[in-house]
Symmetry: C2
């Protein structure tokens, strides 16, 4: 008994070191394989069919575009369609029909979808904002005639950020040199989440329409 107690303690000590080191190694491996999302997408990219992203498992699409090709746009769309709870979009120019379709699909799945856009872009030819609004997506535009809402970012589920130079237009996707940075690093996502909410509140239509004067209070 006198002999076995130190032996047990020794084994416990060694096992402790081994366990701590193993945990650290596992943690590092885990960070490497399933750690922070850090991806950069560059444009322009060639047009390719994205039907598989909208309707996995259905019969092959007969459209003439290349199929089964992964492009920066299909990656962007994949990220967007991976949202499970909410999508907040803050976009100067929104004219891409497939991105509108994605937002409608997400809304149909029950997600909270909010779109904030520039006041002057709402009625531009090709703008998808009017259609989004008609189809029930919650849309606001900035109320200032001086300050332009020039952001191009989206926050998915409050924890994944897509941001860069890319307006959500077919022309930008297919013709311009653009970038979109994708990350779930909280220190980067948090400020965008806060800024979206601040701009959303500032664009509340109630702020635009001054309260109608009520009846005179009784004397």
């Amino acid at each position: 008994m006198v002999k076995s107690a130190p032996a047990v303690l020794w084994m416990l000590g060694v096992a402790g070191v081994a366990l701590t080191l193993t945990a650290e190694v596992l943690l590092r491996l885990c960070r490497g394989s399933t750690g922070r999302l850090r991806e950069v997408l560059f444009f322009p990219c060639p047009a390719a069919c994205v039907e598989r992203l909208f309707a996995a498992g259905r019969s092959p699409c007969p459209c003439p575009l290349p199929h089964g090709v992964e492009t920066s746009f299909s990656r962007l769309l994949s990220h967007l369609l991976s949202a499970r709870v909410s999508v907040d979009v803050c976009m100067f120019a929104f004219a891409h029909p497939q991105l509108r379709r994605a937002l409608l699909l997400l809304r149909g799945r029950g997600l909270a979808v909010r779109v904030l856009c520039d006041r002057d872009y709402v009625k531009v030819n090709g703008s998808q904002i009017g259609l989004l609004r008609k189809q029930g997506v919650c849309v606001r535009h900035d109320v200032s005639a001086v300050v332009h809402m020039h952001h191009k970012f989206a926050v998915l589920d409050g924890r994944t950020l897509l941001t860069g130079s890319l307006n959500w237009t077919t022309n930008a996707v297919q013709n311009n040199a653009e970038n979109v940075l994708v990350t779930d690093e909280p220190a980067l996502v948090r400020p965008y989440r806060r800024e979206f909410q601040r701009l959303w509140d500032a664009a509340d239509p109630d702020r635009k329409c001054p309260q109608q004067p009520g009846p005179e209070p009784p004397v």
Copy 2:
């Protein structure tokens, strides 16, 4: 001796666990305090004097702008002026005189400064591109009449990225809702560094001017 050997082993075991845990805690603390640069700047921001950033220690500036005020623009300028080796700027619209001044200052300090811009923006009223070129900064513009170079990013010393929606114009800084994300996360910086080099090579003036046909080779 029989008693002390296991005791020593036990102490070694405990010390091992303690040391490993301490190292982990120190590593985490270190990461927190001097870890990755992650900052987001939002615009518009009020105009404020930035002379202190250009000439620290000189006599107070007599200009009428507010002094000693930190704004998103002064933060942006501070990051830019912190470069020590190289600055690669990929900017659709470059019309901010203070940002041109910063690049000239950096070039004067011996840094390698490269500016890549959109072909159509070079001669826009207010563009600083012509002045940069005249003052010796290495400037290229995209050679395609179809693809617009719409990026708004810069890479400092090959390891710090500034990217977002902000064009380098006074109007964008003072009037627009814009964002700039600042990071030195290698997994994010690396793709931008590569993309800059790719676009820079593609915008090589030699590619624009087809080789003059030489004399007929001797038969």
